[in-house]
Amino acid sequence: MKAVKKSESYSFDETPVAIKAVAQPAGSEKEEVNIVIVGHVDHGKSTLIGRLLLETKQISAEQVAATKALCKQQNREFEYAYFLDALEEEQAQNITIDIASIRFTTDQRAFCIIDAPGHREFLKNMISGAASADTAVLIIDVNEGVREQTKRHANMLIHLGINNIVVVLNKMDKINYDQQRYEQVQADILRYLSKLNITVFASLPISAREGELVAQPSQKLSWYRGPTFLELLDLIPVEKSQTLKVLRFPIQDVMRKQGERIYVGTLTSGELRLGDQVRIEPVDRVTQVKQLYRANAKVEHVVVGEAAGVVFSDPIFAERGDVIIAQHDAQKPTTKVVASVFWFHKQALRVSDQLLFKLATAEVKAQVVAIKDRLDSDTLTIAEKNSRQMTAGETAELTFSLETPVFIDEYSHHEQTGRFVLQRDGDIAGGGIVKSVGDQAAVAAAKPLVSTKIESKKRSLFKAVSWRIIGAITTGVIAWGITGTPDFGIKIGLLDFVLKIGIYYVHERLWDRVSFGRQKA
């Protein structure tokens, strides 16, 4: 249910009139779009949504009056963000603590707009909101420019499968609607996003507080040629889950009805008909569909997204976590997984840690085999090719070894059987999308864990000392043997010890700086 993978950008040379030509979806049903607003603290996420709701009159007059009264009572300007930041603490501190979603409709689409918190400590809440989004709007205070959470949120989007977004540069009023500054910040963010392989469908300048280019065209931003934010909402390309023909039916539970075992669950892909030959993994059993249910009704055919029930013609023992697939499907269960992982638990995740790996309805113990390409949580650049650990707010490519085989897909083939969460001590602590499984993953895992052995200064010093003690004793003993004078032997030994320790240390540090002959990681 995510945005399209191909780049599909809006051309800024087109006039807004051309935009109206976008085809209305077939039938009376509007296209459902989940959209999340992300970005740094205080860059105006909740304000933008509030302003949009107000200008399009999707907030009741009563609610506007109540908010006005509340703001007056608190002696402050009208606060658009209050429509979504409903908690007392949120209003008092002017922050969003937890996500809130609100329905919003245009002529063409029915949106669920998700307001995400921008504080780093609420990252798990931001993910809870963004994970259900089809696409995202990244908002940046043009005055402050690209900040830490701007980058972190963008990086998270990629790990949640969102790769085509809209960029909004807010608070243009604070910089006097200056085009030059806008272009400068726009260039910064576009550069960063292209590194992450995020496609920017469009970017535009707005002032959420003043309502410039939110729902109405702006005189002050006349140099910008393109649609308003509201118009853009109808244009963002969103490709709902392609109705893949390949069957995926993770078993959720087994129920008994009139002596029959009904395997229930929701099809995450494909379709199933009465009489179909199916295989159940990882138990690797083949059987036939004898009876089918959609909810509680007997039917002949169920499709992706439906809460289904199936009865097999053979007495098969399957359970929650097993997946029903087509008989000749080439995909096999595996114990090796390589995935792009994000982590938000307070305690760091380390190589060889044990976790609970939850994918669709399956749950299995997993061990972390390797942590590669960790993105540093402060600089948001690749900190290490190979790491021993990752901390909250970081992302990396991880290799897992599962205790028992699980049926897993690559995320690019099947979203719902290609993504997972990681649980530690009963808490959901992170998640990831699967890049490769089975043999391919095993190859990736076989690569050396720690390839460059750079000595710490402390370690080289200790090594030098221990080596010199052995060397000095040997020299001393030999000197004593040759001269026959124990006193001379001791003196030579001590001199040897003190002098060479310094030479060895300096020598080691110098070689550290030379790249000659060093093998690549």
Binding site: L84, T266, G309, V421
Partner: protein, 266 residues
């Protein structure tokens, strides 16, 4: 698949998750349209069975039409009905004149707490929705509650990709909200499509009807001519008034619902 189908499938999936993870499970049944929709969805999810008890918190101030409707449905669907009542507070004369917040807390929250403790429920299913009011908008589908019933809205567990927090700690219970993503309009359209029975108080009599059902002393009716579900849907499409505008406890103090709900109110 249209929106109602998507919502139905999602709710059935949540109900099946609830049943799968909690042996001692109950559903809160307020007799309103939302919990009747849940009742309907339960029958769909469990092949016409009702695999858990339905708990009704009776404050003794509910309109008689609600109680009559409850008993009729319980007989018809063979529902295992459990009623909870804070008899001690009622004997001491608790009513809304002692402050609506106090009354809601004693007769609803405390009564619920008592019945959860008595039956040792690990989880209760409730029909709240995001679009009802601000603090409910912040809710998760699986919402763990502290041992003193509290809702820690400032530190909720992450919830995404259909994976829920199942606490290992025995002292807490979990609230499960299968209708969270539905809107008032969705519920009525689904009631129309499925022909779900609802209490007669929702339909206009002498030019007035109830939009939200609750205790008689604290619930105001609205001016309306809607006598059928279809007419209610048409009325909702026009209105700008919030759903719970008639519920006096919501307007009692600033952040009233947040304050009630952080102590365990539904």
């Amino acid at each position: 698949m249209n929106r109602l189908d998507e919502l139905e499938n999602h709710s059935i999936w949540v109900l099946r998750e609830a049943r799968r993870h909690f042996g001692r499970l109950a559903m809160l049944w307020s007799i309103g349209k939302d919990s009747n929709t849940l009742l309907w969805l339960t029958r769909k999810a469990f092949f016409d069975d009702m695999p858990f008890p339905y708990v009704h918190i009776d404050t003794s101030y509910k309109p008689p039409e609600m109680i009559a409707f409850r008993d009729k449905l319980a007989r018809e669907y063979n529902i295992d009905l459990v009623t909870g009542m804070n008899k001690k507070a009622l004997a001491a004369g608790m009513n809304h004149t002692q402050g609506r917040m106090n009354c809601c807390k004693a007769l609803k929250t405390d009564a619920l707490q008592q019945i959860i403790a008595e039956n040792n429920y690990q989880a209760v299913i409730a029909g709240i929705r995001h679009d009802e009011e601000g603090s409910r908008r912040k809710e998760r589908i699986f919402s763990p509650r502290g041992n003193r019933f509290s809702w820690d809205y400032k530190d909720q567990p992450p919830e995404f990709w259909g994976q829920f927090a199942i606490p290992e700690d025995e002292t807490t219970h979990v609230r499960i909200h299968p209708l969270l993503k539905w809107t008032e309009m969705d519920v009525w359209q689904y009631i129309e499509r499925e022909n779900i029975p609802v209490c007669e108080l929702y339909f206009a009599r002498n030019g007035r009807r109830y939009r939200s059902l609750g205790c008689a002393p604290c619930n105001g009716s609205i001016a309306s001519e809607a006598t059928t579900v279809t007419e209610i849907i048409a009325e909702l499409a026009r209105t700008t008034t919030p759903e719970r505008a008639g519920r006096a406890q919501d307007q009692e103090v600033a952040y009233a619902m947040q304050k009630l709900r952080q102590d365990g109110y539904m």
